[in-house]
């Protein structure tokens, strides 16, 4: 499988009066064509910032410190706004958080779908409307939804409209940032399955950010685990769940309660703050396999076995 997008050592910091919060501190990642890549990690690990950085959606006081985002042989971060705007939505689209107000509350759903289309391909309003209605039916929504306003829809349905919008122009990659977080359980399953199917139905690559490992088990082909602004492990879903390498990944899997077993164990200690990351390997204060070297040197991401990377000194030797 060849790489469609590559992120190299991307750093996104946030200015505060106490100095820079290094939310994303050098993440490197390859996204393969027609796959669902899950990005997992807890709150504050920088996974949403990774997506915002890749799509240049970072707002002040945040700023992109350094790093490259390679797509079609070009570094997106070096494109000026107008060039980047041309490939937005047509090639790289986005599904927002499941929160309440991702849709403009004062204009109809139809208009919000169409203005994304008209900004990129120059066709008439009725033709654009045709595409929008088709996208709505792709996600199983009736066409009269187009005439409604966002406040008339339930949270789950609003999120499906966002999914429909993101596939209007048949993009190459869809970045989904916690797409089902704020929904009820049944709606979560409904929308998660739809996102999972985007790959087969539209041949699109999906990069899904989510904190719940169970969601990744359902839809992801590969998973990248993030901790304290860096990527600590990448591997196929079966490898991550079957043979987790990084101590944090093991801790994460043990901590997730599920209907399968009535036992789960927490990771000791508290999540570190982006204003002052721990030295060396950032997990060392909470890691039971801690060695001397872990406190000084931050382990690089190395490929232990085919398509299974980990950043941990335990595997440094091999």
């Amino acid at each position: 499988m060849d790489t469609i997008l590559e992120i190299q050592d991307l750093k996104v910091y946030f200015r505060t009066i106490f100095g820079d919060a290094k939310s994303l501190d050098g993440a490197s990642l390859r996204v393969y064509e027609r796959e669902v890549l899950g990005i997992a990690g807890e709150s504050g690990c920088g996974k949403s910032t990774l997506v915002e950085g890749a799509l240049k959606l970072v707002k002040p006081p945040g700023y992109i410190h350094s790093g490259k985002v390679l797509y079609n042989g070009r570094n997106l971060l070096e494109l000026d706004d107008e060039e980047f705007r041309k490939i937005r939505w047509k090639e790289l689209s986005y599904i927002p958080q499941g929160s309440m107000n991702s849709l403009n509350p004062v204009i109809k759903i139809e208009e919000q779908m169409i203005d994304g289309i008209i900004s990129h391909i120059d066709i008439s309003y009725p033709d654009a409307k045709e595409i929008a209605l088709e996208a709505l039916s792709d996600v199983g929504l009736p066409s009269d939804v187009a005439q409604m306003f966002p406040h008339e829809l339930s949270g789950g349905m609003r999120q499906r409209v966002c999914i429909a919008m993101s596939i209007c122009l048949r993009p190459k990659i869809i970045f989904a940032d916690e797409p089902v977080t704020a929904l009820d359980v049944v709606m979560q399953k409904l929308n998660l399955q739809t996102i999972g199917e985007l790959k087969e139905r539209f041949g699109v690559t999906v990069v899904m950010v989510a904190h719940d490992m169970a969601w990744h088990a359902e839809v992801a082909d590969r998973i990248a685990i993030m901790y304290a602004g860096k990527i600590v492990e990448i591997g196929t879903t079966s490898d991550i769940f079957g043979k987790p390498l990084h101590p944090y990944t093991k801790g994460l899997l043990d901590a997730v309660p599920s209907l399968e077993r009535r036992f789960s164990k927490s990771i000791p200690g508290i999540a570190p703050s982006p204003l002052s990351w721990p030295s060396g390997c950032r997990f060392h204060p909470r890691c039971s396999y801690k060695m001397g070297v872990c406190e000084e040197i931050d382990p690089p991401l190395i490929e232990i076995e085919k398509d299974h990377f980990v950043a941990c000194h335990i595997y440094g030797g091999r």
Partner: protein
């Protein structure tokens, strides 16, 4: 206080208003010294309409009074009325806003409608007629009616805050720890509510000062209280503009503008510090 470092607007506002207040407080001593015991409104102390000079930095007016001392007295009275009427208005606003916010329901809707009505209806003509037809208008009566018309403005600032503070879980936690209503009001809600009372107070003070100056400018209201508005009135009726004594008109206006702008700067500075999203944008 961290607030000074993080909001330049707030600091500038505080500096200007404190200077003006200090000057107003020192007015009696300064004027005694400058006028040798006479009151600044006494007529015929000096030659009339002198240009600005070392002794009379702002010159003298058509009645032979030193404009600099007159302005100081005017500043004192304007601030006095502003703070009395403003304080009264804030008191009314806080009491009504808390009952409305805390009780909610029908009472809340009623008080909001009344305050909106007072806000919408132009208060100046009504004020003017009241002051015109009431025979004896003293400081107390003037402050009372000024307060009546400006409490609506500050209650509109305060009420949404009360309603949101009442809903906070720490208020419910207090109730579950057998706190009485009074304890909740004063120990839990009031401390977080002080900055908003101050915002309400500054709205009331600017509001009443503007209204008072507007009344006095056209010669309505107690002549024995020489506020800045009254001084402007004297200047205009003495034909200062026609005779070219621009200084006489300009100085009271500049001081009034300084008053209003500085209080507003404090408000804007406070809002930027307390409003997370505005703060986020300014990188603080």
């Amino acid at each position: 206080m961290r607030i000074f470092k993080s909001s330049p607007k707030f600091t500038v506002g505080v500096i200007i208003i404190s200077i003006l207040i200090v000057i107003a407080l020192l007015e009696p001593t300064i004027n005694n010294h400058r006028l040798g015991g006479h009151s600044s409104t006494e007529i015929g102390l000096y030659e009339t309409s002198l240009p600005p000079s070392k002794e009379h930095p702002f010159g003298t007016d058509a009645y032979g009074r030193d404009v600099f001392s007159l302005i100081l007295t005017g500043l004192k009275y304007s601030l006095l009325i502003g703070f009395i009427a403003g304080g009264l208005a804030t008191l009314i606003a806080v009491v009504l806003a808390t009952t409305a916010g805390y009780k909610g329901g029908w009472l809340d809707a009623f008080i909001t409608t009344v305050s909106n009505a007072i806000l919408i209806i132009p208060s100046w003509p009504i004020l003017a007629i009241i002051v015109l037809f009431v025979r004896k208008v003293d400081l107390f009566f003037l402050s009372l009616i000024l307060a009546f018309f400006s409490w609506a403005g500050s209650s509109r600032q305060i009420k949404p805050q009360i309603a949101s503070l009442k809903e906070r879980p720490y208020v419910e936690l207090a109730r579950v720890t057998a706190f009485s209503d009074i304890e909740i009001m004063f120990k839990e809600i009031l401390p977080n509510f002080l900055p908003y009372i101050f915002v309400g107070f500054s709205y009331a003070v600017t509001g009443t000062m503007m209204a008072e100056t507007a009344l006095r400018l056209v010669g309505l209201g107690p002549a024995d209280i020489p506020s800045l508005g009254q001084i402007l009135n004297w200047a205009l009726y003495a034909g200062a503009l026609a005779q070219g004594h621009y200084f006489l008109v300009l100085t009271p206006i500049v001081i009034l503008i300084l008053l209003f702008v500085s209080i507003n700067l404090i408000n804007v500075g406070l809002d930027e510090v307390y409003n997370p999203r505005l703060k986020q944008i300014t990188g603080v």
